[in-house]
Symmetry: C2
Subunit: 185 residues, 2 copies
Amino acid sequence: MATREQIVAAADRLFYHHGYEHTSFADIAGAVGLSRGNFYYHFKSKDAILDAVIEARLDNTRQMLEQWESEAPTPAGRVMRYVEIVLTNRADIQDYGCPVGTLTTELAKLEHAMLGQAGRLFTLFRGWLREQFVLLGQAAQADELAMHVLAFSQGVAVMANAFRDEAFIRREVDRMREWLSTYEK
Amino acid sequence: MATREQIVAAADRLFYHHGYEHTSFADIAGAVGLSRGNFYYHFKSKDAILDAVIEARLDNTRQMLEQWESEAPTPAGRVMRYVEIVLTNRADIQDYGCPVGTLTTELAKLEHAMLGQAGRLFTLFRGWLREQFVLLGQAAQADELAMHVLAFSQGVAVMANAFRDEAFIRREVDRMREWLSTYEK
DNA sequence: GTCTATATACCGATAGAC
DNA sequence: GTCTATCGGTATATAGAC
């Protein structure tokens, strides 16, 4: 793998696990096995790395959504794929929360210029979920339902991180499955 | 107001607005009008200030819960008081998220020793909500319902912070009001 | 493309005068 | 109880050898 890609992958993981501000160039360099100095050949600032990390996450998310569309035949099944992320990624979420939600929360507090870029991650999921609800015949309220599903995932992620309670996550997913079944064709 | 209390009040606000790690001693000292050096007469470390901030938040929360109990006659009305925080504190939540959720999220990523202390804030709300559901005759699942209400507030807070959409908040509060009415005696 | 060495600034924390 | 001065550490970022 190219050095630049290794840097982005390491920064992605460290930003998620320890936060953007708390992660230093030395941390990323150490994870990749590079010296600090050589860093600026690949990225001219810490903001530039964050930008690359967000773009990489957008690409990975687009791929994941495409995969869900090919794997889950019905719109309701696709929405459930999203809902079940909190179980699929349970271990990471309990330790570090939602990668999208926690990044957005942190950048908002830092009044960081890249906050808008990070918001595109939420918007990507929002638009995809909205499409699924349109396909479910809920065009009039598709965006509102998409926002509700997003809020669900964020609420569960924050609580799972705070209390590390797997049974809670399973109950909330079951609750969402039941709620979603009322919209199923 | 005593200098110590001024420090705690300033640190409380700055930790909420800009995060714990991003807030420096110089920031707090500047807000209070003190020199950095004099700081250590009142608090021997930054952790000690965080501890005092958490204790102050616990005290304020207990007072708020007592007030809700005196103002709202029914358990369902009290739970709705909690649910409606996202509207009552809408402006702050859109700018900075939930003070409890965002602090817990940040301390988890920092692997900070005070994470357990911050968790007491969530536990305080959780126990109080559980009591209300017991009074509603839902003793068997009171804790699960309490956790659901907490997850609601955290989900709405993260989304409100990310999208700054007041209509979304109002819709979600209405949704919770309807859900809660099914448990009302 | 990778390295060492370094510049500059800020961090939490301390010492000591008043 | 408040101040100034300062320590040691680390941060982002740069310069220049190889």
